[in-house]
């Protein structure tokens, strides 16, 4: 166990900059998730920590041991790093039994044979795979293979634990169970962990902190609540959860912590502005989570509190089991939300609470990505 410090990590593949000056500080025992779409550089960062790829610049150290330093030319080969890495493919050796797979790292470390046996049994018990010690990997299910892969990594007490999309090869139901199990295990072990995934639910539910990456750079670092409730930019807002984006223009100076935004069709929406400045006349993008948007029935009064009522045109409605998914057009921009009952007319009135909207500078077109 140790803290991991990544400073200005850079990795190029030919012309492409896969990781662009990334710095992350992971505290001792912390569980940090690298989250992002494929090609965002998260796996490359992980490979650089494990020593599988030699980076082009920066510095990586774990608990005082320098793994890589571009300036001094230090590069520890993977075998000298004592990292634990669980692969997306599990990478269990098909010609060895579960026991042989797990004992391999201990044999390398010249652990006496009696202790080796005890520790393999112990770690297999930890991942609840004790009865399967004599099986070969191909005789195990995906979930079982994943546990063995984890056991093989935990058995030698690595300095840090690296998990590369360990749940992505499981089917949906199994993934839910494995996630819960992993969450329990993580609190029990307290290992410094880097977890790579493109699944926001895994990231939100498992992590102490999340690093959202995009195009080789860090888009935002923060706790799951931070990332979800206060996304730093439209990319993060769009990537985590579902977000509706409304293009608009600031009319009138912020007043009492609120700014007035005019949508393309002239309707006006009040939003709370915290730190962000909203200069009058500037183009902005409003972001709303679907759950923050309410429907106001015809003739009904708007809910109490700060907010605005706007009218949107219904484009599509689809029953998705228990709820209706409604596609709307608000001021020329698409909007989606879920309602318990289908909208009756061609138009609906929407309640946009002032506290729920997030304001981003400039016009963005993330929804088409």
């Amino acid at each position: 166990m140790a803290e991991l410090v990544i400073e200005n990590l850079t990795k190029r593949f030919g012309e492409v900059v896969a990781v662009d000056s990334v710095s992350i500080h992971v505290a001792d025992g912390e569980f940090v998730t690298l989250l992002g779409p494929s090609g965002c550089g998260k796996s490359t960062t992980l490979a650089a920590v494990a020593g599988l790829d030699r980076p082009d610049g920066g510095r990586i150290s774990v608990g005082g041991t320098v793994y890589f330093d571009e300036r001094t030319g230090t590069f520890l080969p993977p075998e000298a790093r004592n990292c634990g890495l669980v692969f997306q493919s599990y990478a269990l050796w098909p010609h060895m039994t579960v026991f042989d797979n797990v004992v391999f790292p201990l044999t390398l470390r010249k652990v006496p044979s009696a202790e080796r046996k005890r520790r393999v049994e112990e770690v297999l018990a930890l991942v609840e795979m004790e009865p399967y010690a004599d099986r070969y990997p191909h005789q195990l299910s995906g979930g079982q293979q994943q546990r063995v892969a984890l056991a093989r990594t935990l058995v030698y007490r690595p300095a840090i634990l690296l998990l590369d999309e360990p749940l992505s090869n499981l089917d949906a139901k199994l993934r839910d169970r494995a996630r819960t199990w992993l969450a329990e295990l993580r609190t029990r072990l307290g290992l410094t962990t880097i977890y790579v995934t493109h699944d926001q639910i895994e990231a939100l539910s498992l992590s102490d902190r999340i690093v959202v990456m995009n195009g080789g750079r860090i888009a935002q670092i923060g706790t799951p609540q931070d990332i979800y409730e206060r996304p730093a930019d439209p990319f993060v807002a769009d990537f985590i959860g579902t977000t509706n984006f409304l293009p608009g223009r600031v009319v009138g100076a912020p007043d009492g912590g609120q700014a007035l935004i005019e949508l393309e069709d002239g309707q006006r929406v009040a939003v709370q502005v915290e730190r962000r400045t909203a200069a009058p006349g500037s183009r902005v993008t409003l972001a709303y989570r679907p759950e923050q948007i309410g429907v106001v029935a015809e003739g009904e009064a708007a809910p109490d509190g700060a907010g605005s009522v706007v009218t949107a045109r219904v484009i599509s409605r689809a029953y998705v089991g228990g709820r209706w998914q409604v596609g709307l057009d608000l001021g020329g921009g698409p909007l989606r939300l879920e309602t318990a009952r289908p909208p009756s007319g061609e138009q609906v009135r929407l309640w946009l609470p002032a506290a729920g909207g997030i304001l981003f500078q400039g016009s963005t077109d993330v929804s088409s990505e």
Partner: protein, 577 residues
């Protein structure tokens, strides 16, 4: 449970002992060994071609006179012309036969197509030397069928002692190469292309001609260059049939000038060898261009998932009879009659077979220590040499495909280079290398020089069997071992090489067969005591011992048949090449 958790999360383990220093010597050692092995025959040939006297003489001077001398050598123009005609004719015959066979056996509803296809492949497993003797026994001047023909008609319409006659033998023995490439191309070709043609109203033969055949063109073109190269390098057929008739090609020119002559002219031989090397290098480069990758040998055939076969209709049985006759005449007869000849004291259509059956040829063969030793040597060279070569090839493969070795790309190139080195050139080259290098004198008269030369020649073949499988092993498997503390060599030993076992077995089998039938390089290098079957066959042939030749050839055919059958039954490997 909680106790276990505490223990698993306990103090980090001490790091494993680092062995990273082992990596460099192993990788550099292998690379250096490969380089020496490949350069050993080439440098002496090139050097000899530009000096004015034999390599082992003192006072050599650099000169280009050899090239001028070669150009003005009487008849050398004819040698080049013969070589070209022989190779071109061979290629045409091989391509036509191979393509026809691929279409008929692979894509139509001909009866027993699978069996015919298997038989069609047989010549590829045997050495051209044995095939030559087989053809001689059946179609030679006093061959079985020739005599049968003579008893009914007048003189036969065939004569093996001509360029077309030699090309016919070579073409038949190389047709399987075209067949294999067409078959593997046919299996990847989208059958819906043909179905579309048929749905739009094209008949069977129009579809074959307009759709199937054009789709096969890349395979035909590539295997044509391949076959042209192989024909160019062929020694056995021109040696057995060309030399007595005074038809010399490049390989036989090299053989007579380089070793067999009374006063070998080394300058001339080396220059001719260098010339041949240049031509073959160009052809191999052309193959690479045509294929887009650098495989010269198809070693593992894909599974044939056949598209819907064409209906031959009324032609089904006539075509079957035609094909069966072809197989009987070109595959079954030469091999079968040669084997029968081995078990008889005399073979003639005029004498009943039962009266002449005997084991005398074999008893005589093994009474003669030279020949018994040749068989034994062949076994040792193939079994031990094949194992050593497999080990080297495995090392090259893991370094090229599974290491961060700085020179792995050059190593890859060097390892595949012997594809461009004809057997005769390798033979001449190692012959000079022994003369040149004082240390090599020790192994001159042993079978180890053969092991070294054969290994050099067959590195690409073995590599072709190993590399595809290695690339199928997920790199995560060795990365996992590295992260867990195994250095590169431990990872190779404990993870990669065990996983490659099936490929290594296939590689060993292919090398065993290749070494067992190899003769081209050997006839330049053998000495009393280090004869192998190939050289003994030629020796017996020159003495006119037809029965003993047949017996020795039968041994080779038998051993290879057993190997091929075993490899197929036990490992399910298809061995081509």
């Amino acid at each position: 449970m909680s106790g276990a958790a505490v223990s698993a999360a306990g103090a980090p383990e001490a790091r494993p002992a680092a062995h990273s220093w082992r990596e460099a010597p192993i990788q550099y050692g292998t690379a250096l060994l490969t380089l020496v092995l490949v350069a050993a025959p080439l440098l002496p040939v090139l050097y000899q071609s530009v000096v004015d006297r034999p390599l082992y003489d003192a006072g050599k001077e650099l000169t280009l006179a050899n090239f001028a001398r070669l150009a003005s050598t009487e008849g050398f123009g004819l040698v080049l012309w013969n070589t070209f005609v022989f190779s071109a004719l061979t290629t045409v015959i091989a391509q036509v036969l191979g393509t026809l066979a691929a279409v008929l056996f692979g894509r139509t509803d001909m009866p027993a197509a699978r069996v015919l296809g298997e038989l069609f492949l047989w010549p590829i497993y045997l050495s051209a030397l044995v095939l030559s003797f087989g053809w001689y026994t059946v179609y030679g001047p006093s061959g079985y069928l020739t005599m049968l023909w003579n008893s009914v008609f007048e003189a036969p319409f065939w004569d093996l002692y001509t360029l077309p006659g030699m090309a016919a033998i070579a073409g038949v023995s190389l047709a399987p190469v075209a067949y294999i490439y067409c078959m593997s191309s046919a299996t990847i070709t989208d059958p819906s292309l043909e179905e579309a043609a048929r749905v739009s109203g094209a008949g069977t033969f129009r579809t074959l001609w307009r759709i199937t055949l054009p789709l096969l063109m890349p395979a035909i073109a590539y295997s044509a260059v391949l076959n042209f190269t192989v024909a160019l390098e062929l020694l056995a057929i021109p040696l057995v049939f060309g030399e007595p008739a005074g038809i010399t090609v490049l390989t036989t020119f090299l053989y007579t000038q380089g070793v067999a002559g009374v006063r070998p002219d080394h300058g001339l031989a080396a220059t001719a060898a260098a010339l041949m090397l240049a031509v073959v290098c160009f052809l191999v480069w052309l193959q690479g261009r045509l294929l887009g990758n650098t495989r010269r040998f198809v070693t593992l055939g894909g599974k044939a998932t056949r598209p819907r076969p064409f209906r031959l209709g009324r032609l089904r049985w006539p075509l079957f009879i035609l094909c069966a006759l072809y197989i009987a005449a070109t595959v079954v007869a030469p091999i079968g009659v040669l084997v029968i000849r081995a078990f008889t004291s005399f073979l003639s259509p005029m004498v009943p077979l039962l009266e002449v059956l005997s084991l005398e040829n074999f008893t005589r063969l093994f009474e003669e220590p030279i020949y018994a030793r040749a068989v034994w040597n062949s076994f040792i060279v193939s079994a031990v040499g094949g194992a050593l070569a497999t080990a080297l090839i495995a090392m090259i493969a893991v370094i090229v495909h599974r290491s961060e070795f700085r020179f792995r790309e050059p190593l890859h190139y060097v390892a595949l280079f012997p594809r461009a080195v004809p057997g005769v050139v390798a033979g001449v080259g190692f012959f000079y290398a022994i003369a040149l290098m004082p240390g090599l004198g020790e192994i001159r008269n042993t079978i180890w020089i053969l092991v070294i030369a054969f290994t050099m020649r067959y590195i690409p073949t073995g590599f072709g069997a190993v590399a595809p499988m290695l690339m199928q092993v997920s790199p995560d498997l060795d990365r996992a071992a590295r992260v867990q503390g195994a250095d590169w060599w431990t990872t190779c030993r404990r993870i990669i090489l065990p996983l490659m076992r099936p490929a290594l077995v296939a590689c060993y089998t292919i090398l065993f067969i290749s070494f067992f039938k190899e003769y081209t390089t050997a006839i330049f290098l053998f000495a009393p005591g280090s004869e192998v079957i190939g050289t003994a066959l030629l020796h017996l042939w020159i003495q006119g011992e037809a029965g003993l030749v047949a017996a020795l050839a039968a041994i080779q055919v038998g051993v290879i048949a057993v190997c091929v059958a075993a490899a197929r039954a036990v490992f399910g490997v298809r061995l081509h090449g």
